[in-house]
Amino acid sequence: MDLEEAKEFRERCSQCAAVSWGLTDEGKYYCTSCHNVTEISKEVISTAAIPNTKINAINRGLKKKRKFEKGWDWYVCEGFQYILYHQAEALKTLGVGPELKDEVLHNFWKRYLQKSKQAYCKNPVHTTRRKAKVLEDNLCHSDWASELELLSEADGPLESGTEVQSDFEIPTHFPITKAAQSEAASVCSGSLDGVEYSERKEKGIVKMTVPRTLAFCYLSLLWQRETITLSDLLRFVEEGHIPYINAFQLFPEEMKLYGRDKGIFAIESWPNYEEIYKSMIEIATFLDLPRFPEVTEGCYLHPNILCMKYLLEVNLPDEMHGLTCQVVKMTGIGEVDFLTFDPIAKMKKTVKYDVQALAVIVVVLKLLFLLDDNLEWSYSDLAEAYNEEHKKDKPWFDFRKWYQIMKKTFDEKKQKWEEARAKYVWKSERPLYHSHIDKPVVYKRREMVVNLQKQFSMLVDPTPVVEKKGPSSFQFNWTEEGTDRTCFHGHSLQGVFIKKGHSLITKNSLYWLSTQKFCKSYCKHVTTYEESNFSLSYQFILNIFSFLLRIKTSVLHEEVSLIEKKLFKKKYSEAKKNSSGSKKVRR
């Protein structure tokens, strides 16, 4: 950390043969070009002198700051642009049409820069003094990167002459130089506006964050009506198919990140469904987007198609699809107006397509089997007996058997998932540090960790690592040969229907509501999910279904309640009239 102090040490570095030494805070020499730390330490003559030298070192370091961190001048929004660019590229390799990147996301981002007054407007928050070369290396083949430059520069002349015009330039830099300097020592960043950006708080502006890049991606997917739901997107992120955690690693080497940039670009959590969903609506409103392309019956996001997909995924009989379609029709959740996202409309709400489809399946299961920990088992007895006698016929759907298989499969899957999470490598090869002062310390740590990891990986059996599965919107394959898992897709629902006249009606004529009374206060959630109040079958189904989407069970429960609210509209209004509504509703 102090080159002056290290001058007397003239040996060549054992790793890169350079003679360029600094001192770590432990008083050891380290090579400033390859960060190799020697075992040789500087003799400390008097311990009393240490505090002073420390201060000197920091002061001297300050002056040299720019020399240390020579890199490109870049703005925070460019960083996000890089991330978006790579995310869009990843989506393209996942099979999404190229228009998403070149048209939709590009336009959304342009609009965002404009709305947040960062570019494409008359007085952007910062003038762009640097040359366009910053981005050309990586992005020149796609025109949308450098456009930001051109546009803001073209707009520039209106403000010509004034170099710094920013509205956010808080006059903190005026008073006493010493204070400013000490502030700069602890508050700095590799980007030009990192410090300013992290302190910026303006009403009405949605600030970019790393999670919000995913909201942008999802908005574009939704606009394109692509076959990727939000839960799919987030799962792909977690599986590493889309850059997100440590996405800053993809920045060119010359874009230095440290100090405040760390708080902006470093992420230590996987994206959360609810959070991204909320930011997506927030961003769409902020961008003032028009009504999205309509979600019609032929679209992947239509509940009928998604229900089909999820019935396959959770290993339920195909025959159930007819019933889910009926529920969709009765509740009106298949209507175009209901499904299409319209940010300008009064009720700024969109549909959680994936959650909703699974909720429909839950409702159908409740209609068929009641799921009161009683009826489903007695139906299972009947099915078992029938299947025993008619071994050659199409088997009846046996709930118990399904439960056993699903339980086992999901438990295994969950275990594997948890193990994979526990083994996840969070730390980037390009460590982030607060300032150039602790840079050698951080790099030394990194090297230590790498060495230790090498040591422990030698103890692990070199068993061939299970090949990484390619991205898929399906997590299970029930028709796979060679497994002992039964596939229930072809099973029949005959056992739970009786003939009445010319039509079949369900044997079960009872139903219970997941939510009796909806919360109408301002707390924003309409229902709560207290697990122990519900039957074990219901708990089980909510658990595995929500695991499928990697969401909280309460989210699915809420969606089930909302569908029931639409399905039993009458019952709810009755219940309102005579508040002592019976728990079970007769259909």
Binding site: P175, E183, R421, K427, R446, S457
Partner: protein
Amino acid sequence: MPRRPSRRRCETDVSDFSEELRKPVTEDEQMETSMLSAKGMHFPWLQKQLETVVTGGKKKKDFAQTTRTCLSFIQDALLKHQWQQAAEYMHSYLQTLEDWDSYKKQAAPEIIWKLGSEILFYHPKSNMETFNTFADRMKNIGVLNYLKISLQHALYLLHHGMLEEANRTLSQAETWRYGEKSSSQEILINLVQAYKGLLEYYAWSKKKMELSKIDEDDYAFTTKSRNMLSQSWKTSVNFCALIKTPGVWDLFVKSYVEMLEFYGDQDGAREVLTNYAYDEKFPSNPNAHIYLYNFLKREKAPRAKLISVLKILYDIVPSHTLMLEFHMLLRKSEKEEHRKLGLAVLFGVLDFAGCTKNITAWTYLAKYLKQILMVNHLSWVQEEWKSRKNWWPTFHFSHFWAKSDWKEDSDLACEKALVAGLLLGKGYRYFRYISKQDHEILRKKIKRMKKSVKKYSITNPVV
């Protein structure tokens, strides 16, 4: 004067900063408590709740969550002796060394050292070399762990019988310095030195053993004994610093005293032991008094001195085996006060479940009770008995005990019966049961017992 405050601000900033880099030593202690909760017993639900309290209800980062799960997987694997799997998870757990939470980052090296050394200790593919590399790497992560890990590394080597290597590791640690000596560093350095001393003691006592086998007239004897002499001087330096710091240093004190005594430095040994037992800064430690007592006994110190030492031990551990010796000392004392205490000591010993079958204690008590009652000190007995009469009958003198004592050890039964008779009268079931037994050898004894009870029992109406 706007300059002043600004300068002050600058200074505090800098000091904050260097503190951050340097890592304050005070947090060292917190680290230990966190380790305790990581491996010790805990209510799982309570821990979860506590975590949310700490983070103020804020959602924990997934990084924190997964590394936590990773830790529990490692612990699980260690428990099941799945070293391979543990190593696999360890690979990911090493990330905690780079945790952005500076508190966790500081705690990480110690956790990793403990888990890692455990894995490397047992893993079939691991060897001495791997372990040493690991230890050396861990020592140099941060500055706080060097001494602690060196010490444990040395213990590991000792465990494997590699005394020389252990000694080398300790010597290295001994000369290691970082910045100004802090208090926590000092005690660790003292410990390192003391362990070095212990190793030297080991070598010394081995030589002593050899020496005891050689004839004194042998020409080898003189050179060997001279060798030993120089060694003890070195060792004493090593022990000195540590045993002056408050703490429990039994092993070191014992070795040190043994060496001092061997070379005839009785005064030195006495001083060490006295200091170890009586210095108020030291935690209460029964062994300190035992060592001192044994030393004084060897020295043939006056009875009063011995009594005063054991009196303290009596206050700390009234059930200690030395209490019987204490009783004998008190019994012989001229002071009435001492003789009274002698009775209390015996009762005290027998209050403990572990001593109920101690025949010596019962014999002493029976004899002493009789003796005291003969000289009409009824009040002494009553005083002791008052607090025990509610529970001793069922604790010692139930019918069940009478039967089983008689079956297992009739001598013990006889002694107990006498005590029971003296305290509870001849009508009491224990006494009655034993006195009815017919035993050829003990017949005489039982007869004598009956007589004593008839004469001296405290239940007798006062004449």
